[in-house]
């Protein structure tokens, strides 16, 4: 991370602190931290950007009530911890930040924890992002890497080059989470294929898919982390590589596929950096269950939660086109879901050598 960026973050944090102390000492008024509200009720679909963006609802965090003072204290403590981290020129995961700021509040009789759990401290880190306007990767707070990449692409991380094509038939690279330090050096692939799970990715990679179709294989291992999303976006928008996404044929999997394409409610403030609106969600469609004759034994019965989710999705503006409405109706009708792994029932190579090429051919990618 450049020392310039580092200094910028430190400066912003100091500014915030200074403002608060001036409010208190000179203005003698309650300091207020203004930040956009995060979450479901402040997420707006932007037709123009084709992604979820943050609305204009604000929250004011101020130590003016018994309820709000812990939050206020948490934000400031986290901001101070971030500054310390940068002062020491170190990196930390979000869990590391949780531990670094862990403490008890109160005396023997009224003791409680400063953080109830890591979710609280994660929220505080988000708040620091919002207050500073700088994503956490850029102030060296990262998460555990879990995204994987494999294929003809070279990354530069710090001073080292990672060639993801090396041995790409038998292994994948973890996508570094300190994305601020990662540059894409060279991409030789024709397109990028993102799958939901690493198990599926391994199967496809082993089949020689990468070499055969000159593709980059990626996965977020479930919910994609920010680094994976950013990498997908960069490949699509900076390197002009088409992106296709495959996830399980259930509302949950569809949700994950859509993270890449439209973003998420909890990170809607950062969509501009994370979302790849041009990504195409190709599968697995609910209709594929029947078109590819997934045997009944490999299908799963939808839970109530799945049904509710699907009903919800049907109303979303980004799923209004006929194709998706048809798919969702089919699901609500049949109440059956299916994982990509179910294709193994047709043979271990069926997914990589039959299903995926067929799907890609349909959109003319290969």
């Amino acid at each position: 991370m450049s020392s310039e960026k580092k200094n910028e973050v430190i400066l912003i944090i100091k500014k915030i602190m200074k403002k608060i102390s001036e409010d208190v000492i000179i203005q003698k008024q309650m300091p207020i931290l203004d930040l956009p509200k995060i979450g479901y009720d402040n997420t707006v679909w932007s037709n123009e950007k084709r992604m979820l963006t943050i609305g204009d609802k604000k929250i004011e965090v101020s130590p003016d009530s018994v309820k709000k003072i812990p939050t206020f204290a948490q934000y400031l403590v986290m901001a101070n911890a971030v500054k310390k981290l940068l002062d020491e020129d170190m990196e930390s995961t979000i869990r590391g930040m949780y531990y670094a700021t862990l403490s008890n509040v109160g005396d023997e009789k009224n003791k409680q924890k400063f953080w109830n759990n890591q979710d609280n401290s994660d929220d505080a880190i988000k708040a620091v992002e919002l207050l500073t306007g700088i994503p956490r990767e850029e102030f060296s707070v990262t998460s555990k890497p879990k995204g994987m990449i494999s294929g003809p692409i070279k990354l530069r991380v710090g001073g080292d080059i990672i060639d993801c094509n090396l041995g790409s038939r038998s292994t994948s690279q973890l996508i570094p989470t300190n994305i601020g330090d990662v540059q894409i050096e060279d991409v030789k692939a024709d397109f990028v294929m993102v799958v939901e799970k690493d198990t599926v990715l391994s199967n496809i990679r082993k089949s020689g898919f990468i070499q055969k179709y000159n593709a980059i294989l990626m996965t977020g291992s479930g919910e994609p982390d920010r680094a994976t999303r950013i990498m997908v976006k960069k490949l699509n928008e900076s390197w002009n590589k088409p992106v296709v996404v495959f996830a399980d044929a259930d509302p949950w999997g569809l949700g994950i596929a859509l993270r890449y394409k439209i973003g998420s409610e909890s990170l809607s403030y950062d969509s501009d950096r994370l979302v790849t609106p041009n990504a195409q969600v190709l599968g697995m469609m609910f209709s594929d269950i029947y078109e590819y004759n997934i045997p009944e034994v490999a299908r799963l019965t939808a839970t109530d939660e799945d049904i509710n989710r699907a009903n919800d999705m049907k109303k979303k503006p980004w799923l209004q086109d006929k194709k998706w409405q048809k798919e969702l109706n089919l699901f609500l009708n049949k109440k059956e879901k299916c994982e990509l792994d179910a294709f193994f029932k047709h043979g271990f190579k069926y997914l990589a050598e039959t299903y995926l090429p067929q799907k890609l051919r349909q959109i003319g990618l290969i």
């Binding site: 602190m17 000492i25 130590p63 018994v66 003072i69 400031l76 005396d107 009789k109 009224n110 409680q112």
Partner: protein, 713 residues
């Protein structure tokens, strides 16, 4: 039991003189059973346990008897009692103690005094009315024990209302004959007078006894609790631990009990015969005798009873001598007849006003160790401050305010008198028939304030019961009345009040800072044992007590819920204050400066803000009905407390605005302190100011209360 034919044998016994002279029956015949007559004094000394005088309890019982006699003697003529009692080591190597008790009661006239002090079963209290002492045993027991165990005379000074001048006696008991031995009797000159007032009684005895710590505590408890139910008495109690004084908090005394006629449903052969013999010389018919001798019995009703009894003699005959056979018929009819409930003039309950005063200012003797545990919160706060000076300062303050009663020099510092002031009290009572006698059950409840733990107080005829609490009916009542009548759940009670969350006490009520008082007045208290320390669940007594306690809970429920809210808010507020250091250190840390007045300004700001808020909230919380009449269900003190709170809030506002102006000044003063503290990155600096301030407020609050209180009295 006595004889298969009661009608005749009882008569005979009455006519006969007591059994044969022992000398006569002493014959050298082996098979002859020897019958001896024992003097009452000898009997009681041999069976001292009957009167509670057992081993360790001797001093306790002696103190108790003397105090009870003193109070009875004062109350008889509504004299405000002033009792000075002292128990001190006299000769440690021989376990000798000097017990001295002086009262300002009626005194005992000089001709009766030796008998009254020394002869067992001599009493002025043999009548149907509520008194502490009943049997004419207690004082005699003290005298007999002194005679038995030591060679010191019993010294008595008495100034009776009936005669002029003060008399001084030196007495001993002739235990063999139940007669007093007067060693010295003289009229005391005014200059040597031991009794200041117009009348009074003072006794000084030497007793041999061991005083184990448990008994000592019981003696202290006894005096303490006596003072609670007799707030109109001024008591000083001097021991080797120092002088404890219990102030008189009111000049109102309970109406003295009046002697009454027995109730006809309680009639038996003995009472009937007594009634008839009382009127034997007069020319009165039997129905008249009945209606003169029993309450709730009209002439008509008496005639009806006698006709129902189907007696074969002329009702108008006034000279007839009745056979027991006839009389028992009358008794039988009376047992079957329904009468009006007996009146309760012979009882002297404490009453709402007096008990409330007692509860509002509980004088207790505490050892310093206890004080420390009770002021635990403050201590902990002070620990946070981590400044020994402040700790001392606060403690001193506390002691000044709490022990103002112990204005007389305390020779040893480890015991002192503390006045507990609850924030809420309630009172309720019931009257019923238990054990065939009218019984008044009074219950009181004191909550919060200086009271920080649960305690059950039991009284019978204004006498504190201290032993055998576990087997007392009151204990059962407390366990059986559900706490939810207080309007709070067990969970809430545990969460908000339990200091030790792991404690597994099943009776939730015991985590509450609550004192429960039961007082039972009757001429026949259903004691469980001869020791008279616990009350049995006789008849409907328990259900009366339960309904009393339920009612008290209900009365307090609104208030307690409010208290609970306050407590919750207070707990939250405490947490709130603990967050401040985090904020302050985050700011100063990241700015890399030691801003000396940030914490100060911050806490001022927040306090000001919260005050504004809590006044807003407080408005509907403090709906104080000051126009409440003093004898309504709710005790006036509770509203007093609440109104105090409002005053306090106003005060708070004032101080805050004052602080506001002072900030500049203060920041200079605090710079040094802050420098010292901010070096360690710990966050205690802000809490220091906060806790200090809150303490200041607390103190002010206390003082306010004190002032109000004293004005009131």
């Amino acid at each position: 039991m006595k004889s298969p034919n009661p009608a005749t044998s009882v008569l005979k016994q009455d006519e006969q003189k007591p059994p044969n002279n022992p000398q006569q029956s002493v014959k050298m015949d082996k098979h002859k059973i020897i019958y001896n007559k024992k003097a009452e004094s000898e009997f009681f000394v041999d069976n001292s346990a009957l009167a509670g005088f057992t081993g360790e309890r001797i001093l306790y019982m002696a103190v108790r008897e003397l105090i009870e006699n003193a109070l009875d003697s004062c109350e008889l003529f509504s004299i405000l009692p002033s009792i000075k009692i002292s128990l001190k080591t006299f000769d440690q190597s021989n376990d000798l103690w000097i017990l001295d008790c002086e009262d300002n009661g009626t005194g005992i006239s000089s001709d009766k005094l030796p008998v009254a002090v020394c002869s067992f079963l001599t009493s002025a209290k043999y009548m149907e009315k509520q008194q502490r002492g009943l049997f004419g045993v207690g004082l005699k027991m003290v005298a007999a024990f002194s005679t038995k165990d030591t060679d010191f005379p019993i010294k008595v000074w008495s100034k009776s209302m009936e005669e002029a001048g003060e008399y001084y006696f030196e007495l001993r008991t002739d235990i063999g004959t139940n007669k007093p031995i007067v060693l010295l009797k003289k009229q005391v000159n005014k200059s040597e007078s031991h009794i200041d007032g117009p009348s009074g009684f003072r006794i000084r005895v030497v007793l041999r006894a061991r005083l184990v710590p448990i008994t000592k505590n019981k003696i202290y408890d006894y005096v303490t609790q006596t003072s609670i139910v007799n707030p109109y008495a001024f008591i000083t109690f001097e021991t080797d631990d120092g002088m404890f004084s219990f102030d008189r908090r009111t000049s109102i005394m309970p109406t003295p009990a009046k002697e009454i006629l027995p109730h006809p449903s309680d009639m038996d052969l003995q009472t009937l015969k007594k009634a008839i013999s009382k009127h034997s010389g007069q020319k009165i018919t039997l129905p008249k005798i009945l209606c003169y001798s029993f309450q709730k019995l009209s002439y008509e009703k008496a005639k009806e009873i006698i006709s129902n009894a189907d007696l074969d003699f002329d009702l108008k005959d006034t000279k007839i001598s009745f056979s027991e056979h006839d009389l028992i018929k009358i008794v039988n009819i009376c047992k079957k007849t329904k009468f009006q409930n007996p009146n309760t003039d012979h009882l002297s309950p404490i009453g709402q006003g007096i008990l409330t005063i007692g509860m509002m200012s509980e004088y207790t003797i505490v050892s310093n160790k206890n004080i420390e545990t009770s002021s635990d919160n403050n201590k902990r706060d002070a620990m946070m401050v981590n400044e020994a000076k402040k700790l001392n300062h606060d403690k001193e303050d506390k002691n000044v305010s709490k022990t103002e009663a112990s204005n007389i020099g305390v020779s040893k510092p480890n015991f002192s008198v503390r006045v507990l002031q609850p924030v809420l009290t309630a009172y309720t009572s019931r009257t019923g028939i238990i054990n065939n006698r009218p019984t008044i059950i009074e219950t009181g409840l004191a909550y919060g304030g200086d009271i920080n733990s649960f305690k059950l107080f039991r009284f019978a005829n204004k006498i504190p019961l201290l032993y055998d609490e576990g087997s007392d009916v009151a204990r059962e009542v407390v366990s059986e009345v559900e706490i939810n009548k207080l309007g709070i759940t067990k969970k809430q009670a545990k969460e908000q009040f339990s200091t030790n969350k792991e404690s597994k006490r099943d009776r939730v009520i015991e985590v509450l800072p609550i004192h429960i008082f039961f007082h039972i007045c009757s001429t026949k208290i259903p004691y469980k044992t001869a020791g008279k320390e616990s009350i049995a669940s006789e008849g409907e007594l328990k259900s009366y007590m339960k309904s009393c306690l339920s009612e008290l809970y209900r009365k307090l429920s609104t208030q307690i819920r409010k208290e609970l809210k306050l407590k919750e808010a207070e707990n939250k507020m405490k947490l709130y204050k603990h967050y401040l250091p985090f904020i302050v250190s985050a700011i100063t840390d990241s700015l890399g400066i030691k801003n000396s007045n940030l914490d100060d300004s911050f806490s001022t700001l927040i306090e000001k803000h919260l005050t504004k808020k809590s006044i807003g909230v407080g408005d509907d919380d403090n709906v104080v009905n000051n126009s409440e009449p003093p004898h309504s269900d709710f005790v006036p003190e509770s509203s007093l407390y609440l109104s105090n709170k409002t005053v306090d809030l106003e005060k708070k506002k004032l101080t805050v605005s004052k602080n506001y102006e002072d900030i500049g000044d203060k920041s200079i003063k605090n710079t040094k302190l802050d420098k010292a503290l901010s070096n360690s990155s710990s966050n205690s600096d802000a809490s220091l100011i906060v806790s200090y301030k809150s303490k200041e407020k607390e103190r002010r609050h206390k003082n306010d209360k004190k002032i109000k209180k004293s004005k009131k009295n």
